[in-house]
């Protein structure tokens, strides 16, 4: 009996030891090969292609320090939410790249000594920011960079509308790497004045967000008055003409000389206002077709609402587009003209953007207040397979220099109002990366995290209903179920 008992005990112990051993080995393997599933509705915790490319290209270790703390109680809630989101994303960054290391997260009111030490060590000027440090260089991401916050009257709490933490972090990492790209934005006749697409205009149609977006992504943006300067500076890596209404006759030779020397031109043109621009484009092989894709009601005789405006699907024929997945990419333009194929003089063009008539339009020309003005491919016999809103060209001059041009038949998507809607910023960045020869950076940007608030009525009725339901009704059902079952059982 004793021997049998001992053997049984030994058998059990061996089983347990084997399970522990197997468990440890499995644990060790899993620890080194993490598998993570992002179950959020819009894959908010999955890093975008853009970020992954950026992380893969990191040349040196990047240390990150987070400092936060808000004295104003009204703002504390928003700051806490944004910095929580920042920490969540930093975790994804550190898991995606071993080169990213979060060295400390400091609440400046709770850890004042650590805050002072970090201030001296990293030369930090202020808290409420995420600082990325590579060697002697560092880049700050502030709360305003990570979130859209609406400030009301003084003393009232700010409203957090949305967060774009990943976009801000990736832009900071990109700024941290390498030398900035020198870009010049064409001014003077290339713009429409202070109320139009002007970099100084912070209104809905202005381009201040466009310039800010470029600067945040390691572009050194200069404003170029070509009519006055006479030529494009030699250090210009890409020439930007957004909202072009000219160019002036004096500017065209300068742009052409720049392109002949292998220049890169980003052109967002409003064909309605820029007949000279169209002539210039035709010289370079981009024919603008006579019909409009979308017209404002004054021109078309039908009313079109902005929110119902054209949403295009772009095909994936070009490096600019290849990272986009069909279901993730959307672009909205209110104003675009189909750009025809390039022929002859300056080489082949590649269509990068197509409006699939069948995908977008329900019926032909049924413009009403609740349904947008519509058209179909029959309206445009020259482009039966879809209408381009953008084209790119690559040409080789006699000297062997390769020039690149990207032309958009609209500039509205670059305006302050629209730049961060849909995938407009991604289109911009991918186009610029292709122009400056860094198409390997092309990717898809992260979706915004929209803050979802329970809508409480001013009298607090909704809150009271919830309170009653949660505190009395739901537990009360449990009590009732228990009483019924016990009663039935006793019976």
């Amino acid at each position: 009996m004793a021997i049998r008992r001992f053997l049984t005990w030994c058998c059990g112990a061996t089983n347990v030891l084997l399970i522990v051993y197997g468990a440890l080995v499995t644990g060790a393997i899993l620890y080194h090969h993490p598998v993570r599933f992002d179950l959020t509705a819009k894959a908010l915790r999955t890093l975008s292609d853009d970020t992954k490319t950026c992380l893969a290209g990191l040349k040196e270790p990047v240390r990150v320090i987070v400092t936060f703390g808000e004295a104003d109680p009204a703002k504390r809630l928003v700051a806490g939410r944004v910095f929580q989101e920042a920490q969540d994303f930093l975790r994804e960054y550190t898991l995606a790249s071993p080169k990213i290391e979060v060295i400390d997260v400091i609440n400046v009111y709770q850890r004042q000594e650590a805050w002072q030490q970090a201030r001296e060590r990293f030369n930090l000027t202020d808290a409420n920011r995420v600082t990325f440090i590579a060697g002697a260089r560092q880049q700050d991401v502030r709360l305003e960079d990570m979130a859209s916050v609406k400030y009301g009257r003084p003393g009232s709490p700010p409203l957090l509308e949305s967060m774009h933490v990943e976009r801000a972090f990736t832009a900071a990492l990109r700024r941290l790497q390498g030398a900035p790209c020198k870009a010049y934005l064409l001014a003077n006749d290339g713009i429409q004045g202070q109320t139009g697409p002007d970099p100084a205009n912070a209104g809905p149609g202005g381009l201040s967000a466009f310039v800010a977006e470029l600067r945040a992504n390691n572009y050194d943006v200069g404003i170029l008055d070509l009519a006055r300067e006479g030529k494009v500076p030699a250090d210009c890596e890409v020439l930007l003409a957004a909202g072009l209404i000219g160019p002036l006759p004096a500017e065209i030779p300068a742009v052409e000389a720049y392109l002949e020397a292998g220049g890169k031109l980003f052109l967002a043109i409003n064909p309605q206002y820029s007949p000279r621009g169209l002539e210039f484009l035709e010289d370079w092989g981009v024919a603008v077709l006579p019909a409009w894709i979308v017209m404002e009601h004054q021109l078309a005789g039908t009313k079109i609402q902005t929110e119902h405006a054209l949403a295009t699907e772009l095909n994936e024929l070009h490096p600019i587009m290849r990272k986009f997945e069909k279901d993730r990419f959307r672009m909205q333009v209110t104003y675009a003209r189909p750009l025809g194929g390039a022929k002859g003089l300056h080489g082949e063009s590649v269509p990068i953007a197509g409006v699939k008539a069948g995908n977008i339009w329900g019926e032909r020309k049924a413009g009403t207040a609740d349904r947008p003005w519509v058209c179909d491919a029959n309206d445009y016999p020259s482009a039966p397979d879809g209408l381009s809103v953008a084209r790119v060209l690559e040409t080789e001059s006699e000297s062997g220099a390769v020039a690149r041009i990207a032309v958009f038949g609209t500039w509205t998507f670059l305006g302050n109002e629209r730049l961060h809607e849909f995938d407009h910023a991604s289109v911009l960045h991918n186009t610029l990366w292709w122009l400056i020869g860094r198409e390997e950076q092309a990717g898809v940007r992260d979706p915004e995290v929209v803050v979802r608030n329970i809508s409480f009525d001013p009298e607090g009725k909704v809150r009271r209903t919830l309170a009653w339901a949660m505190l009395a009704l739901v537990p009360g059902c449990g009590v009732l179920a228990g009483v019924v079952i016990l009663f039935v059982r006793r019976k």
Partner: protein, 251 residues
């Protein structure tokens, strides 16, 4: 084998619904969570932000008290009561293996624990219907949180069953299970309180169940490493339960 396991499972699972203690646990559970959610969703900490409210609901003190306390309450009776009332001897001599008894009782306790936690979905659904037009509840995030809850509760339930195999007294079994669960819970907080060493931070951070929830499950990410950790713990605890129960057979 599965048939006998099923009969053990069925007997114990139904017994839960005939016990007033289970209803008291459920009602207390719902009331506490309703209280927390009301506090969090209001103008206080979450400021009406549903994502933050959910995060606080599934990672606050009450949450952890319930996470640690519910499994011992569900398992304390299972084997201890069999030994106290003498039915354990009948089980031992019945044509059913110890492993089958343990597995059946474990499945019953775990499923009932899962049922108790699923009641919290009523509160989540109440929140979902109050969201403004255009905003939808992120059910993927809820699924991730529940994956974490079920994984960890599976582990704690196995620990509770093991504790129940030790003693004839239900209270002793519950206190023992709670102590072990508390120890597992506190090991993970050690690195945040005492350690500055990077490798210790890494090790304790990996086993910290709070970190698992706050950093991953509560934000909608399921990290299989953590679920594997819980599964490993469950397998060890169950095998030790079989071993402990089996050893008593020969006394």
């Amino acid at each position: 084998m599965w048939r006998r396991t099923y009969w053990v499972f069925r007997r114990d699972f139904i017994a839960y619904f005939h016990s007033p203690a289970a209803y008291v646990t459920m009602v207390g559970f719902l009331f506490l969570n309703g209280l927390v959610l009301n506090f969090e969703i209001g103008p206080g900490r979450a400021g009406g932000d549903v994502d933050i409210a959910l995060r606080l609901l599934f990672a606050n003190y009450f949450f952890w008290v319930l996470m640690l306390a519910v499994p011992p309450l569900m398992t304390m009776r299972l084997l201890a009561e069999e030994r106290r009332s003498g039915t354990a001897d009948l089980l031992m001599t019945a044509p059913v293996r110890t492993g089958e008894v343990v597995l059946g009782k474990y499945a019953a306790a775990f499923l009932f624990t899962a049922f108790v936690w699923s009641l919290l979905l009523i509160d989540v659904a109440l929140l979902a219907v109050r969201l403004p037009a255009g905003a939808e509840m992120d059910w993927g995030k809820i699924a991730a949180i529940y994956a974490g809850i079920l994984g960890l509760e599976a582990f704690f339930t196995a620990v509770g069953l093991w504790a129940s195999a030790f003693s004839r007294n239900q209270v002793v079994a519950a206190v023992l299970a709670l102590s072990i669960a508390m120890l597992i819970f506190l090991v993970g907080t050690y690195h945040e309180l005492f350690s500055d060493e990077p490798y210790e931070q890494l090790l304790y951070g990996f086993v910290s169940v709070i970190s698992h929830f706050v950093r991953d499950f509560a934000v909608g990410v399921v990290d299989l490493r953590y679920l594997a950790l819980y599964a490993i713990g469950t397998a060890i605890a169950l095998s030790m339960t079989v071993w402990t129960f089996e050893a008593r057979k020969w006394r």
